[in-house]
Symmetry: C2
Subunit: 336 residues, 2 copies
């Protein structure tokens, strides 16, 4: 038996079974019993040197790949059922690498009731991971295109924390020297701030309960998850909806940890919040009639949700500052 | 608008619509209306330098990625409905690269009625492609595990042609010198043989009609598609079924083009047929009661189907030669 077949046998022995999984990992395709209803499907990819640092721990990678994939389902208000996992890796990663990664991915998905149904392994010069996840809507599907003038703009969590966490991880790996005007070294951050920022980058939380509430209770007119940066993703929502989206600078939530990091490193925290990327928070628009629902968000959402701006007639995404409007829809990551 | 968003707009403008695709490329997830019934899902990956040569034409790559993915569905007797496409590519590939690739992939899938529902783009040092394809069974799902002693072993097409085609493509790209005892150069092959071998490698045909016939008419007890080599894949089917699989050397189909190539290049055509990989043909087992069905295969299957051996009690996959049995279940590609 080759190493690939050993991998499949070890994986099968470790995965929990699921009665609707009629044929699981190890055959040419997975077969899943499924009742009628919309299928929500999404795929997401993490690439070494682009989305994570070389030498990253496989357990952390597997967990993060699933979280990032689940974030897409959260954005449309769906709940996951099954997923497929592709792992590309170099021989030097070792035979245990894909198994540790796949088991961590399966465990993370299991926290939301989703099951690993199959996947693919490939040799590659650099590590890459791809998930294909599918599930069901929990209500009316949330699209990017439903925002209307008069809506308020809401955001979960702390934008920019993940970008700061990446900078900390880079510095810890010796890859990014202190920069800016500050005298920053990783050691100058408090342990609590470092932990918070690293967690935001390495271990994002898919906002599935929030997405479910928005969809099942009809609270939002449009939604998107922040993967490439608040600025560019706000621009996408605005363009899809044919509206202008204004983010009010004084309402932009900046975490204490981000403010500490920015002060030490001589960076602009607003810029990091707008352009950082990797946030995996939900940006969504809410009609006036539903705004009251967000005054006291239920604990089950698992995250703070704040009003950060408003929707107007027009086009583009802007930061509203005392000195005027600044276009932000190019602030973020472009995969080209 | 960034390059990634331009890509999505151009793609959407070029894709055909489908009434069951409620939300297509450009949002966070695809939403597909779907009746009840088993979902068959599979994912497959092609990596530059591993599965294809650097500099490969994006149209050819997109087409091949889909064909290879569809082959998995053929192996279980399913018919495709939708797919997701992930493209990793370096900046040097250019902005047109992913669009040409995605459109070719969508066109290829469309030949079988399948629709591009979404995907993901990522920067990467090397090109890689991943498809996640799903569909429905056309009858009882074909597994690897159903072969029984007394069954005959059948194979579609010409094993080894794709491996010879890869050698020709490499030589044409200047990457592989003539080798073995022969005085082989690409020019010494007849144009017809070169065309046939290159096509087998570059443009495999997913055996969906054959898989459908096997599943819907209940003709096969087990099936697998040949991706890593006849030897290793025969070994996988034997192990999953708990049987011994014998391939009779005199029944192994060797194409005229492969024989010409092997003679010129001083290579063993049987070895190439057993270990070559990338065949994407179906290997399947047939009970005695159904063997007659294969005497005169219908034209709609689109490929020759031949009996190449038999199933016995025991374990492993072997080539039966005049001098005895040779184990073949390690002959092929291991992705570790």
């Amino acid at each position: 038996m080759g190493a690939e077949d050993r991998f499949v046998e070890l994986l099968r022995a470790s995965l929990r079974s699921d009665e609707s999984l009629l044929l699981g990992p190890g055959d040419d395709a997975a077969v899943i019993d499924r009742a009628a209803g919309p299928l929500v499907a999404s795929t997401d990819t993490l690439v070494e040197g682009v989305d994570f640092l070389p030498g990253e721990d496989p357990k952390r990678l597997g967990r993060r790949a699933v979280s990032v994939g689940l974030s897409d389902l959260a954005a449309v208000g769906a709940w996951p059922e099954f997923f497929l996992l592709t792992i590309g890796f170099p021989e030097t990663a070792g035979e245990d690498f894909p198994l540790a990664l796949a088991l961590a991915a399966a465990e993370r998905a299991g926290e939301f009731g989703a099951v690993l149904a199959g996947g693919d392994l490939s040799r590659a010069a650099e590590v890459f991971l791809s998930t294909a996840i599918w599930g069901r809507p929990t209500g009316e599907v949330l699209k990017r295109s439903g925002a209307r003038p008069g809506d308020s703009v809401f955001l979960s969590g702390w934008p920019g924390d993940a970008a700061a966490g990446l900078a900390v991880a880079r510095a810890r790996a010796g890859a990014e020297p202190p920069r800016g005007d500050g005298a920053w070294t990783p050691e100058s951050l408090s342990p609590a701030d470092e932990t918070a920022l690293l967690a935001a980058y390495r271990d994002p939380e898919p906002r599935l309960p929030l997405g479910r509430a928005l969809a099942s209770e009809g609270l939002a007119t449009a939604a998107i998850d922040l993967s490439d940066g608040l600025g560019v993703d706000a621009g996408r929502l605005a363009r899809a909806s044919g509206v202008r989206l204004l983010i009010e600078v004084e309402s932009l939530p900046l975490s204490p940890a981000l403010l500490s990091f920015a002060r030490l490193a001589g960076r602009d925290p607003v810029e990091m919040a707008l352009a950082g990327g990797d946030d995996y928070e939900l940006l969504f628009t809410v009609p006036a009639s539903e705004s009251g629902r967000f005054a006291d968000p239920p604990a089950e959402w698992g995250v703070a949700v704040r009003r950060i701006g408003r929707v107007e007639a027009g086009a583009g995404a802007f930061l509203e500052e005392a000195r005027g409007l600044r276009p932000i829809d190019r602030l973020g990551y472009d995969h080209f």
